[in-house]
Symmetry: none
Subunit: 154 residues, 2 copies
DNA sequence: CTTACTCTTATGGTATAACATGGGATTTTT
DNA sequence: AAAAATCCCATGTTATACCATAAGAGTAAG
């Protein structure tokens, strides 16, 4: 069976004064498995940091090259937004990454970070914000439960 | 496995009196990795400098040879503009390139340059202009968000 | 069931290397 | 000869690699 590479679980780690955090070991395993790197950027929609394997961005770049027009406005905007914000974060021998000021500020993270798995991606939250968000999501799901169906995608 | 070569992140560097700027080290790494050179030209659509690996222009040229649009007027015009404007910019031992007057003027850059990653390409902006542009893009994207379906999901 | 041991992971501190940037020297161009 | 471009050295700053300790999970033995 093929090894999985899904970001899962919710892990709470300390952020030190320099902005260093241990990347959960499971996440590190994925990076090694894919021989890729972790890439993080500000979430477009939430006050949190979003991360994924660089491999995924590679795919996006490749898709754009072929699907959209080289000179299209939308492509221009999207690439600016995604790649302009994303940055590679490689971890040291002890498994830590150094988060940037920009990201920490966006996610309002000071001394504690919550890693939340999302499959191909993951998010990093401020603990309080995540608590609220999780509650919101659960309520939302319960409300819309009857109309949720598996569409075959995703 | 193949190493990735995506221009990412947003980096602010000083431009000295001679017009020298440090090319962000990640960008330099890509150049070395691909054993190519950096090529820059005036953006066709924005007041900024656009850059990419010379390799990419090679690819575009190759694509056009075989493309159905071989005789397309628009495509002809666009490539004329880009190839006519593009120039190689190699960096010195300290990693700096010397931007030309023409480019600096087009991007209204004087003493500070903002490098914005775009995947296979990157842009160089005047700080104020980029701030405005980033704002514009974020608004635009948020407005059209529902209709944007990326394969990477969101 | 409890205790001791081992291994992995997280975290704090420090040393080292890499980078951006200023200044000057040398070379090339016109 | 003057101007412009390229190269080289010096420095402050920051990120990264490294070492050491602590904490926790899991395992094996008593």
């Amino acid at each position: 069976m093929r090894k999985t590479f899904l970001f899962m679980d919710t892990i709470v780690n300390k952020v030190d004064a320099k902005g260093r955090v241990s990347l959960p070991s499971d996440y590190r395993a994925i990076v090694k498995e894919l021989s890729t790197e972790i890439v993080c950027y500000r979430s477009l929609t939430s006050p949190c940091i979003e991360g994924c394997a660089e491999e995924l961005l590679e795919k996006i770049a490749a898709d754009m090259e072929t699907s959209l027009d080289f000179f299209s406005q939308t492509q221009d905007d999207l690439t600016n937004l995604i790649f302009g914000d994303a940055r590679r974060f490689s971890f040291d021998s002890t498994g830590r990454i150094l988060l940037s000021e920009k990201l920490l500020k966006h996610a309002q993270i000071t001394d504690t970070a919550v890693f939340v798995g999302k499959g191909r991606k993951f998010q990093i939250w401020n603990p309080e914000n995540w608590a609220k968000e999780e509650k919101r999501i659960r309520q939302e799901i319960m409300k819309n439960r009857p109309s949720l169906s598996m569409k075959g995608g995703n």
